[in-house]
């Protein structure tokens, strides 16, 4: 028999429902504002014929802003409200506790992505017929989704590690600013190479063999370019090149699995954070 996980119910329904009942007017007002913003954005995309890349940037920006809110307090609130001991003493296993909490973040992220998906769909529908918009849309959404999953996992671990809601939220946003803005600039300055040109040069190779594709990615680690290429904004930006052109560079990007590899790495890192949290719960809570 599959064990039920009460944590999922509590975080998704229990705590939210009462907050909504108490602050009904505030929630309705926020809801109306969000719908208006959403509709305006939708119309803007259609009227201005906003490209799919720009729309992806917009969606990714929203995910970067909102996804941390789904996970920054999952464990820290247990410590701050002194409820963790009760949870530790129950028969829930470390796996159930971590997956229950992480699962809450994931469900919320899926809902957010589902709400934002029509924006991407609208912009991709406006692309020229030559553009493989469906693959572009799926790969872009996958990339954004995996970045969101990474944020959820990192948030879950930070809130467990630091036991402070304020600190884990601050760290999540600060790390994003560092990774998405400062790090690529730093790499650009240190290597004296404009990164776009660098990618173009690297993509001139022949990628017919698996070894050459693997070398492409391994070389990016040794020359520091992975710090730029793993940036989801950069990944999405270059994805526009990949699907919008039919030259050597676009073919090279297809060959090296541009977008897919980055998504895989985000998921790998997310799994790492999840494992750290699981291990922490096992040791600290003696589970």
């Amino acid at each position: 028999m599959r064990n039920e996980n009460p944590l999922l119910w509590y975080h998704l329904v229990g705590s939210t429902r009462h907050r909504f009942t108490r602050l009904r007017v505030v929630y309705y007002s926020i809801g109306v504002v969000l719908i208006l913003v959403y509709m305006t954005t939708f119309l803007m995309i259609v009227n201005l014929r906003l490209g799919i890349t720009e729309t992806f940037f917009l969606i990714l920006f929203v995910v970067c802003l909102i996804a941390p809110l789904f996970s920054y307090n999952l464990f820290s609130s247990e410590y701050e409200k002194a409820t963790w001991e009760f949870l530790a003493l129950t028969r829930l296993t470390a796996k159930e506790i971590v997956l229950g909490k992480w699962g809450v973040g994931l469900i919320r992220l899926v809902v957010l992505l589902a709400a934002l998906f029509p924006l991407g769909l609208a912009s991709s529908a406006l692309m020229p017929a030559s553009h493989d918009f469906m693959t572009h849309l799926i790969l872009g959404t996958l990339c954004i989704g995996c970045w969101g999953v990474l944020l959820i996992s990192a948030g879950t671990w930070l809130s467990f590690r630091w036991r402070s809601t304020v600190l884990s939220a601050s760290l999540l946003y600060a790390l994003q600013v560092f990774v998405l803005l400062l790090l690529p600039s730093l790499v650009g300055i240190l290597t004296y190479e404009p990164w776009v040109d660098f990618l173009g040069t690297m993509l001139q190779d022949d990628f017919s063999s698996f070894a050459s594709r693997a070398y492409f990615w391994l070389a990016s680690v040794t020359n520091g370019q992975c710090l730029v290429w793993l940036n989801p904004f950069y990944t999405l930006g270059e994805m526009g090149t990949m699907f919008g052109r039919y030259d050597e560079i676009a073919q090279g990007m297809h060959a090296v699995g541009w977008g897919l590899v980055q998504s895989g790495i985000y998921l790998l890192l997310a799994t790492g954070f999840l494992w750290l949290t699981y291990n922490g719960v096992k040791q600290r809570w003696r589970k």
Binding site: S15, T16, H18, A82, T83, E85, F86, L89, T90, R91
Partner: protein, 308 residues
């Protein structure tokens, strides 16, 4: 049965709990007494499997709490001195949450929760939101949560702290009832009158050391080897004090509110002889009686007011 053997906890150079041992059987209500910082909470956390002991062990119904914390946890209920509650849910939902977390089958949950609500006198508040409850009611809800899975051992750390007099009395009654139900209840406090009423066993801890433990009456009896005798003389007490100090069995004499309090090492025979000797010597004595020790006297005699 709870069997604690040489339980020890060190935090760096600080020894918080020094090799304490005691045994409790179902139905025992054990008062764990000690000043703040004596090591009560550390001991309780070790028994609750939340803290790993540096050495020593404890078994509950034969299961080692150090080696098999996961097997012991379903057998224990824990109420810390400071705790929070999941907010935004009703009292019933809160208990359902823990019933599910303790893997109580859905078909049994409603009945169990009703029983626990009745026992803790929270039935009328079952639909109230947790955060709207008073402090006393939250304490009772925490106790109700600890009882949902019908544990054998209940660890209650300062359960009456911060409660008003009425809530204190109610929680004491509840603990007494739990003992009568055959549970092992370990309740800590630094306020003696709180425990004196309902504990059948006590343990006094100071500086991490369990100075004494056992049945309340036995401990009092042991300490009464050095009896206190109150003598009320009609004449000036100084004269009788000088006379008493010459007695070999008298270890000390104090003057309290006109009465002479004698620390006397003899038994009933020697007491009778002392009284006869005083009367023979011409002292006029209005009253002569042995003072009974209560839990506070025991505590004061044993402890020095030090923390670990």
């Amino acid at each position: 049965m709870l069997d604690v053997q040489n339980l020890r906890k060190e935090f760096g150079d600080l020894v918080a709990v020094k090799d304490i041992s005691f045994q409790l059987v179902p139905g025992d209500v054990f008062g764990f007494i000690g000043p703040n910082g004596a090591g009560k909470t550390t001991t309780i956390k070790m028994l609750a499997t939340l803290l790993e002991p540096t050495s020593g062990t404890a078994t509950l119904n034969g299961i080692d709490i150090v080696k098999y914390p996961e097997e012991v946890r379903p057998l224990l209920g824990y109420m810390p001195d400071f705790f929070g509650l999941y907010e935004g849910i009703t009292v019933r939902e809160y208990l359902e949450f823990f019933a599910a977390a303790y893997r109580i089958p859905k078909s049994q949950r409603e009945q169990i929760i009703d029983n626990v609500l009745m026992l803790t006198d929270l039935t009328v508040k079952k639909d109230a939101y947790v955060e709207t409850l008073s402090r006393g009611m939250q304490q009772r809800l925490c106790l109700a949560k600890s009882l949902v899975h019908d544990p054998l051992l209940l660890l209650l750390d300062e359960p009456a702290s911060g409660l008003d007099p009425r809530a204190r009395i109610e929680i004491k009654e509840l603990i007494r009832e739990l003992g009568a139900m055959g549970k092992i209840v370990l309740v800590s406090s630094h306020i003696l009158p709180e425990l004196a009423d309902f504990c059948n066993k006590i343990g006094i801890i100071e500086k991490g050391e369990l100075l004494v433990w056992g049945a309340v009456e036995e401990i009092v009896k042991q300490l009464q080897a050095n009896r206190l005798i109150a003598i009320r003389p009609l004449d000036e007490p100084e004269k009788i004090i000088q006379r008493l100090e010459r007695e070999s069995l008298v270890h000390g004499v104090d003057l309290r509110d006109g009465s002479v309090v004698v620390h006397f090492a003899g038994g009933l025979e020697e007491q009778a002889e002392l009284l006869s000797a005083l009367v023979r010597d011409g002292y006029r004595i209005a009253s002569f009686h042995e003072e009974a020790l209560d839990l506070e006297d025991v505590f004061m005699q044993i402890t020095k007011g030090e923390v670990s």
